[in-house]
């Protein structure tokens, strides 16, 4: 299998995506400065229940975001948090044993992860 993504591009993707999410989180931690920005992105709808809850009990809000999320947020959150990188391979096939059937280990391949992604050991 031949992919053409260079390692430099891979690092840019990795750190770029993580940076974006870090900035989003930092923004969400300070409602007074970013609520308009978040509203623009339709990421938070007024009145900002989160802001109200955060002011009322910051510790509880930090740990639970209690009573702050609408149906869209809950739906997207369940979708995003439940669907991980494992989806890319396991649904295509749970194939640990099918790999063993063709003697993968004899060719120096080792089983790498729960997603059954086998990597050729170099």
């Amino acid at each position: 299998m031949a992919f053409n993504v260079s390692i430099a591009v891979a690092y840019v993707v990795l750190f770029g995506v993580l940076l974006i999410f870090t900035l989003l989180s930092a923004a969400s931690a300070n409602w007074s400065l970013t609520k308009h920005f978040l509203s623009f992105l339709s990421l938070s709808s007024p009145p900002y229940a989160g802001e109200e809850m955060a002011a009322k009990d910051p510790t509880d809000h930090f740990l639970s975001a209690r009573n702050s999320a609408g149906p869209f947020a809950i739906g997207m959150s369940f979708f995003a948090s439940g669907m991980g990188a494992w989806v890319r391979t396991t649904v295509c096939c749970l194939s640990l044993d099918s790999c063993r059937l063709v003697g993968c280990e004899e060719h120096g391949w080792h089983h790498a992860d729960t997603s059954d992604v086998l990597l050729c050991s170099s």
Partner: protein
Amino acid sequence: MGATPALSWIAVLGYSIGSALPAILIGVLVGPKVRAMTGRYKVKAFSTTDFGRQRYGRIMQVTIACVSGFYMFIFNVAELTAISSIFQTVTNVYSTAFRLIVAISMGVCTMFYTAIAGLPASIVTDKCQGLIMAVLVVLLTLTVTLRKDNRVSSAEFDKASNWTGQGAMAAATLVLAIASAELFNQGTWQRVWAAKDVKAMRQGFAIGSFMVFCLMMFFGIMGLLAYANDPVSYDNGEKFSFLSFFDLLEPLHPSFHVLTLILVTALAASSIDSLQNGMACIFSRDLIKIGWYPKTVARTLVVLLNIPAVYLAGEGKSVLELFLVADLVCATAVFPVFCGLQTKDHGMFKAPTEVGAFLGVLSGIATVLVNGVINEAEGNVFQYFWLRNGGICALCGHKTLISFIVTPLVSLVVTYVASFFDVLVRGEHARSPIFTTAFDKDDVVADDDNEVGVVELTDGDDEMKKPNGLVQAISLPKNKTDHEAEAYA
């Protein structure tokens, strides 16, 4: 599963339904009741460990914490391992150093931004991640299927498209295993308490369930397409079915490979940050009660749990079997824990007691061991948790299906039988926790004005008394502002 013709459609459907079902179970059925039952205490609940403590006692709280913690830890390791493996595959760089860098970056970054803003950050980023994922999946669907190289005729597709008994067994196993396991995913349960109200919770989880189903079907169908495109290579082992989606991506322009990397990174980050928040919330309520700087302790706990996770991911060790162990361990405890939603005796079916529930969990574990002996599992008696029974895939075969049916059933029966005898022998003391800590005794219920008050169970509520000062707010008293209790009832 899509790219394995012996499993094909039914297994893909089973996996999709199994992945979407927990949202319905948690968000629509069980979640509202758990939320209402735990919502009447001065210090609010954060996870089902708090439900376990309030409903049963400390022993079940610790049991739930162990099962949940184990499952979420394994899930976290799996995510870190998967993302680093995918980066290696796409870049063709298979060095351990690169693998470690990806795993450490993911772990550290997600730990950092969850430490900054906690669960609210996770929910906000999840919205963004979900949108990115939805857009990219649509884009990739169009691109992959419109590509001439990936087109197949109906005759070719028929080779991949099968409805098999093995697929049906795998489907049933997946539904049972995933549902059992996800009911212990505190990352999901946190959304129950984060929802504005019960209506938002039900609607939100229904939306999430539908989206999960669609995404899983998408990847499954991609597997079918990949196999149909080149069945000979898959049959003789030149290509591996678990890499079938990459097989379809390969002919595309490199920019689509980059888009796929973005998608996968978003997928992994969204799961990992939710798991980290989930792991941190297990003892949040007690930490708040004790006053042990809960945010700091939660952050420290997340860091401590991530270090071994990143290490294991960097090692590239096989965690599939541990994942299966986690599913089976969760299956031993799912009924004992959630039968706690029954708060009234129904004839011989007594409301489960702590002793009954704990014995139910132990019986589930014993069932797995006995199953191992019957199936002549290799190694010691605990080896059968690894489900090595010759199935064509890790969760395939009738023996695995039987394990996931029998184990929770036995735990269910033992929970009720043990609870019956517990009440028979110990009387009303059976309803009390086996032991309580000193600071449990001032656990009182807050009314809607946030004034502390003690709920007095109404006359006729003879199923649960107030032992040792610990209020068992099982029957929710009528309160004109208690909308949630009215709603779920």
